[in-house]
Amino acid sequence: MAIINGNKNNFKELINNKVIVDFYADWCGPCKMLSPVLDKISEEENIDIVKINVDNDPELAKEYGIMSIPTIIVFENGEEKNKNIGLCSKQDIKDMIK
């Protein structure tokens, strides 16, 4: 499905659906490597990817306890279902959204 740029204004609404949230920054090497993997997931799976740039939204990062990036969190009905800190494989992410 789609890649959506999230921010503090639309975040609460976005996580009401089942989504993968990618907390990232442009200066983060491993984030750059994870990004194309998430692009693939959005093509292959029936789930949206919400991108949160921690430089633009440090409050959101703080609210969700992000202290290391990349961190991806799977949300469903506004609740945190699964979380992975650091780079992971496409299969790891597919397992997280099962």
Binding site: P30, M33, S68
Partner: protein, 263 residues
Amino acid sequence: MITIIGAGPAGISCALYLKRANKNVQVITNDKSALCKAKYIENYYGTGKIIGKELYNNGIKSIQELDIPVIKDEIINIQYNDSFILEGINNNYNSDIVVLALGKINNRTYIKGEEKFIGKGISYCATCDGFFFKDKKIAVIGNGEYANKEYEYLKNISSNIIRLNNDDINEIIGTDKVTHINLKNNTNVEVDGIFICDDTIDANVLCLKSGILTNKDGVVIDENYQTNIDNIYSCGDLIPGIKQISKAVNDGMLVANIIISRR
């Protein structure tokens, strides 16, 4: 330029085959190969019983005789724009292709409490995670050159940094995130973030910082020995499989041939 990181059997073998195909190749090593620590090698073709360090030195000598530069440095990060920039403790190096031949991933012995707080105050990468600790209380654990480098970076982020050694620490304590370090002298140091830097950078940490995918068996590679990043290859003890010199030498040769046939 092709850069091989590591001068053990895999790295040397790879360099040798690349050079013989007229490729521009350099080798960067921190001289901390596991082979140097092996008292004797007794199961490798043609050498008989040989001291590990001697076999290691012979390997380096053999490629220096082919005019391959062997640079002593420790690579602590790999970044890329159009080509790769290998960030070393002493220098930076540009490269079009990188071969990781760093030896076996060490599964580190955690400090008590460390594993529980990974990503919750514990970090292994100042450039990745320093951002989250702006003006906060930071501890840098380790006293090697790598720790010095991370400390220098973090000084721009916070003025409240203490330096500690593994041996000083009894336990890392916190709730949902790190709150303090209990020292062996039974005092507590309040911290928000802890950056752990062993004496030399572990292959695992270099991969983590650079965005190279690993699992418990080592660096993840495809059928062409390429990592998740195009033009970064890996071979030897760093990849899954038997940890033997003969296998590492074979890996290095195969990676060289793959690179030669692709270019």
